[in-house]
Structure formats: structure tokens, C-alpha cells
């Protein structure tokens, strides 16, 4: 039951992210979404993912957003000045609704039953064992992102 409540709360905070007026509240809603996701992960038996989600999703990303928003000094741009929003919103929302319905209906067709006996390898074995390449890839991703941010914020005089 808790799972359904969490799912509903997630959807709710997602809607809040989209529609609340104040950008800071949107960021907070995003963090809330992460927190709910993280709780859900825990319930689903994924504690490590839960911690990652909590620290990176709810922590790091929220802080990054906050910092950047304060950096551009426009925390309360809101969306009062949106123009042409109605038409785009309408079509997009229609598309979202249609796709959602279609996907939900079609996916209901063949959900696999919970696996009876699968090789339940523990996280460290998987992460540092068979997925080592991806973990190395992740370190490259982080390296790339840091160099990239270095490029975007470099202060040396350019051309």
C-alpha cells in the first residue's frame, strides 16, 4: 500500500515541479521527488540505489540547481511571462496523455511474473565485478564533465 502512496506522491511532486510558480519551490519539489524515489527504492530492496538517489539526486543536484539559480540572480522568474504556452502545452499534454494511455495499456499485456529463482548477486559483486567497465566509464563521465565545466568557466582570455 505504501508503494502506491509513494507513487502518487511522486507523481504529485512531479506535477508541482512543472506547475509551481516559484523556481525555488520547483527545485525543492524536485528534491522531494528524489526523496520519494529513494524511499521507494529502499522498499523495493535496493538500499544502495536508495542512498545514491538520496545523496546525488536529492542532495547534489538540488544544491547545484540552487547554487546556479542564485548565481543568475533570477530566482523568481516564475512563468508569468510565458507566451504561446497554451498551444504548445495543449499539444504536448495531449501527446503525453495519449502516449501514457497507450503505453500503459500495451505494457499491461505481458508483465513477467516475479522471478522464481534468479541469481541474486549482491551489489558489490555486480558493481565491481561484471559491471566494472561501466564503472570505469562512469569515472570517465565524471572526468569529462569536470573538464567540460572547466571549459565553460575558464577565465583565461580567449580569442
Amino acid at each position: 500500500m505504501l508503494i502506491y502512496v509513494l507513487l502518487a506522491l511522486m507523481a504529485l511532486s512531479a506535477i508541482l515541479v512543472i506547475f509551481c510558480r516559484d523556481l525555488l519551490y520547483a527545485v525543492i519539489s524536485l528534491g522531494t521527488l528524489s526523496v520519494f524515489t529513494s524511499i521507494l527504492f529502499y522498499i523495493l530492496g535496493s538500499p544502495f540505489a536508495s542512498i545514491m538517489e538520496l545523496s546525488i539526486g536529492a542532495g547534489l543536484i538540488t544544491i547545484l540547481f540552487m547554487a546556479t539559480i542564485s548565481l543568475v540572480e533570477q530566482p523568481r522568474v516564475g512563468h508569468a511571462k510565458y507566451s504561446g504556452r497554451s498551444s504548445i502545452s495543449f499539444f504536448a499534454l495531449a501527446a503525453v496523455v495519449a502516449t501514457t494511455i497507450w503505453v500503459a495499456l500495451s505494457l499491461a499485456e505481458g508483465v513477467p511474473g516475479p522471478a522464481a529463482a534468479a541469481s541474486a548477486a549482491a551489489l558489490p559483486e555486480v558493481l565491481w565485478g561484471i559491471r566494472l567497465l561501466d564503472v570505469m566509464g562512469l569515472s570517465v563521465v565524471i572526468f569529462t564533465a569536470s573538464i567540460g565545466i572547466g571549459v565553460l568557466f575558464r577565465t583565461e582570455g580567449g580569442k
Binding site: 566494472l132 561501466d134 563521465v141
Partner: protein, 500 residues
């Protein structure tokens, strides 16, 4: 016996990623001690050494002999390089080497070039990871490495507004695209319980139809963004025209093709049962993409933007080849598509490099302002002419040969649809003359203001890659078989998989 996975990880990926770190660190140290320019040169030299070394190493691939060999290392299971990957490596490395040489001259006044070369190596590594990946998660990780490095490279000259605007649009659109793709992949995981392409493919006939097709559509749409299929292309003209010319050359020449390759890997690895479906989607998208790209390129006023839209059109040709190949089960389609990737890489890179050189000297990108540039910079203008004629598919240049194979596969299909597709392709090459010829025409028309501004000679570091690419374009135009060896091996690989 060395297994392909180990080979790929140790001789291709490791040098590139490790080289990136070394390039960055040493480049940074030198630029602290000796100044930016020296740091850039050192970084470029290290990057060049690394790419050349990796390029040489990629010829040591033991080939089919090792196909069955096991590395015995579990985590290498997420790589599964084959002849297709090797083909892409053989196209990518020369391109990256030439662009690195070019950048040595072209980027010499920029700051932070140590990061530039490191990002370029990472981009190369990302591409090699994508083409060698054997499971959906590694594919995604490497795809993101490729994407993030290319975002930063596009916005490298952040001092002006254009790269930044293009960069942000690029980030948002591509992030959306790749996330949609991974969403499709996650569906596959939910339904099959596995992330290895081979395992998913083994289960796929037992899976319910709709989720598989939904995943197929989402993956096509998601990776289609990177492959710039119309209407998923809108980031391309911005990003490709705003990037430094060397990066434009890489993006147009190989990165969007790798985007398509990610899709191709999944189609071949996971969806061999849905060939007809994939063929249909690709054919429709390809016809739209080519026609749209050519028409909109005619209306462009900015020469780099025109080339960017021409990339959209050329991508359409490539996809058309594969679409026809899948739909009609014809080997010629694959040969044409893969060979066009190869020839287009060098022609489009040539076009961008020569145009970059012209832009740097004249300071303008408007086609109308480039009058008479051909007289003050004859070599560069002739190189651009050769590239444009090749791209338009005029015989004696490599583009004709690859396009010919694509035309041929449509006729070979023998059905009305095939003939119609080939006719669309042939007609499109006429439409494309509508923008290549006026551009050439302008370059050689009586001198204008821009031509008067040109001073000094083009540096040899810029000229050398241009000359080499001209040679490649001409030689492949007369003797395509020189470039067809790896292509044929890759086609055999595809036919093996789809059972043709």
C-alpha cells in the same frame, strides 16, 4: 589468443581514455609553466601520439581467428566488438588524427586547448565504446561520454554567444533523446531481465510483442536524435555551425554516424526479428530526411549552416541504404550505407575544414560575402570545390561511388518501391547541386570585400589534412575498392547476424 573484447578494451579504449587524462594533466602543467600556447601544442602532440598509436594498434586486430576466444574476464563481457566496430575505428582514427593536426593550426590562439584535446580524445573513446559495446548499459554509458564531451566541444569558444546558445540547445535536445533511448532500453530490461544484447535477443521471441515494439520505437526515436533524422534533427544545424570547424568536421563526419550506429547495433543485436519493421521506419525517415535536408540547405545563407543541413541530407542517404538493406534484405544496401559513411566522413570533414580555413581568413560566414575568395586562397577553395562536388555525387569523386551503391540497391530490389526510392535519391543529388554549385560559383566570382581582407598564407598544419582528404576523396572516387575491404567485412558480419 587475444579475445576481441580484451583487444578493444586494451588497445582502443584504454589508450584513448588514459591518453585523455595524460593530455589534460601534462597540457595543464605545461600551460602553467610556459603559457597557454605551449600547453596547447604539447597537448596536441600528446593527443596525436595517442591517436596514432591507437590507430596503429587497431590494425593488430586478430580478426575472425579470435572471434571465439574468451577473455576470461567477466566485466569485459559488456564489450562485443566485431568487423562493424573495426570499420568505424578505421574511419574514425584517421579523421581524428587529421582534425587534431588541423586544430594545431586552427586553435592556436584559443585558451584552454589542453582541455580541448583531452575532450577530443574522450569523444573518440566514447565513439569507440559505442561501436564496440555489447550490452545496452555500456552502450548508454559510452554514448553519454560521447555526448557530454561533444556538448563541451561545441561550446568551446564560449566567448561568443553562438556556441553557447547552440550548446544549450544541443544539451537539452540530446539529453532528451538519449534519455528516451535509455527509457526504451529499460523497458527491454524489465521484460527480459537482462542487459546483454545477446541474451535479450535470445529471449526476444518469447516476449510480448508490444513492449518490444515500444522499446524499438523509443530507441529509434532516441538515438535518431543523435543521428539527426528529420524531425529529430533541429539541434544539428545550430551545433555544427557554431562549433570550431575541426569539431564540426568530426561531428558531421563521424559523430552523427556513430549516433546511428548505436541504433544499428541495437537493431542487429536485439531486434533481428523486426527487420521489416525497422526497414519501414528507416526508409520513411530517410526519404524525409534527405529531401528536407536538401531543400532547406538551398535556403541557407551561412555556409557552415548549409554544410550542416547537407549533413542531414547525407545522413538520409546513409539511413536509406540501411533501410533498403533491412527492408529488402539486400547486401548492397548495407554496402552502400557503410561505404557512404566512409566516403562522407572524409568529404564532409574536408568541406568543413576548408570552409573553416576560409572563415578564419575572411571573418565572415555569409555565402554572399565570400565572393572572390577562390582567387586569393586557390588551394583551399579548390579543396572545398572537390568536397562539394563529391558530396553532390559527381563521378570521379568518392561520393559518387557510395551514392551509386545506394541507388543500385533500390533498383536491385526490383519492386516499384525500390525504383521510387532510388529515383528520390538521384533527384536529391540534383537538388543538392542547387546549393553546392552557387557556393562554388560565389567563391570563384569577381572579388569582393572579404577576399580583400585575406592576408598571409594558410599554415601547413591546416593545409596538410586538407590535402590528405582531397587525395582520399579523389582516390576513392576512382578506386573505391581500396576502401571497400573493411566495408565488405562489416557487411558480411551484418549478413551473418540477420541471416542473409
Amino acid at each position: 589468443m587475444q579475445s576481441p573484447e580484451l583487444f578493444w578494451a586494451m588497445r582502443i579504449l584504454l589508450p584513448l581514455f588514459l591518453g585523455a587524462v595524460v593530455t589534460y594533466v601534462i597540457g595543464k602543467i605545461i600551460s602553467r609553466i610556459k603559457g597557454d600556447r605551449a600547453g596547447g601544442v604539447v597537448a596536441a602532440v600528446i593527443a596525436l601520439v595517442v591517436t596514432v598509436a591507437a590507430y596503429i594498434l587497431c590494425f593488430t586486430y586478430p580478426g575472425a581467428a579470435s572471434a571465439g576466444a574468451e577473455s576470461g574476464i567477466a566485466w569485459l563481457g559488456s564489450l562485443k566488438p566485431d568487423a562493424l566496430s573495426l570499420l568505424m575505428a578505421k574511419i574514425m582514427f584517421p579523421l581524428v588524427i587529421l582534425v587534431a593536426i588541423y586544430s594545431l593550426g586552427y586553435m592556436k590562439d584559443d585558451s584552454g586547448t589542453d582541455k580541448y584535446y583531452a575532450l577530443m580524445l574522450i569523444m573518440a573513446g566514447g565513439m569507440m565504446g559505442v561501436v564496440g559495446a555489447g550490452d545496452i548499459i555500456s552502450l548508454y554509458v559510452f554514448f553519454e561520454i560521447l555526448s557530454i564531451s561533444s556538448y563541451c566541444l561545441v561550446s568551446f569558444r564560449k566567448e561568443s554567444w553562438e556556441p553557447i546558445e547552440a550548446g544549450f540547445k544541443y544539451v537539452i535536445i540530446n539529453a532528451l533523446g538519449s534519455t528516451v533511448a535509455i527509457f526504451g532500453l529499460s523497458l527491454l530490461y524489465i521484460y527480459s531481465g537482462s542487459v546483454s544484447m545477446a541474451e535479450i535477443a535470445a529471449h526476444i521471441s518469447g516476449l510480448p510483442d508490444l513492449p518490444v515494439l515500444a522499446a524499438l520505437a523509443l530507441i529509434t526515436g532516441g538515438f535518431g536524435v543523435k543521428a539527426a533524422m528529420v524531425p529529430l534533427h533541429s539541434w544539428l544545424p545550430d551545433a555544427h555551425s557554431a562549433a570550431p570547424s575541426g569539431i564540426s568536421a568530426l561531428l558531421s563526419g563521424i559523430v552523427i554516424q556513430v549516433g546511428f550506429f548505436a541504433l544499428l547495433r541495437l537493431i542487429l543485436g536485439v531486434f533481428p526479428l523486426q527487420m521489416q519493421m525497422v526497414g519501414t521506419i528507416l526508409i520513411i525517415l530517410a526519404a524525409v530526411t534527405t529531401t528536407y535536408g536538401n531543400f532547406i540547405a538551398i535556403a541557407q545563407k551561412d555556409i557552415k549552416r548549409m554544410l550542416a543541413y547537407s549533413s542531414v541530407a547525407q545522413m538520409g542517404y546513409i539511413i536509406l541504404g540501411f533501410g533498403v538493406g533491412f527492408y529488402f534484405h539486400s547486401a548492397d544496401g548495407f554496402t552502400g550505407g557503410l561505404f557512404h559513411i566512409e566516403t562522407h566522413a572524409f568529404m564532409k570533414a574536408l568541406a568543413f575544414l576548408s570552409v573553416g580555413c576560409i572563415i578564419e581568413k575572411t571573418g565572415t560566414r555569409r555565402i554572399a560575402d565570400l565572393k572572390g575568395v577562390g582567387r586569393v586562397m586557390p588551394a583551399t577553395a579548390v579543396a572545398f570545390t572537390i568536397a562539394a562536388l563529391g558530396l553532390a555525387g559527381i563521378p570521379a569523386f568518392s561520393g559518387f561511388m557510395s551514392k551509386l551503391m545506394i541507388y543500385k540497391c533500390g533498383f536491385q530490389a526490383g519492386t516499384a518501391l525500390g525504383v521510387v526510392l532510388s529515383s528520390i535519391a538521384i533527384l536529391n543529388s540534383i537538388i543538392s547541386l542547387g546549393y553546392y554549385m552557387p557556393a562554388i560559383h560565389t567563391l570563384f566570382s569577381p572579388a569582393g570585400e572579404a577576399a580583400a581582407k585575406v592576408k598571409g598564407t594558410v599554415s601547413p598544419a591546416i593545409l596538410l589534412p586538407i590535402v590528405i582528404m582531397v587525395l582520399i576523396t579523389l582516390v576513392l572516387g576512382w578506386h573505391p575498392d581500396l576502401g571497400l575491404g573493411p566495408v565488405n567485412a562489416a557487411v558480411l558480419e551484418i549478413l551473418n547476424i540477420i541471416g542473409g
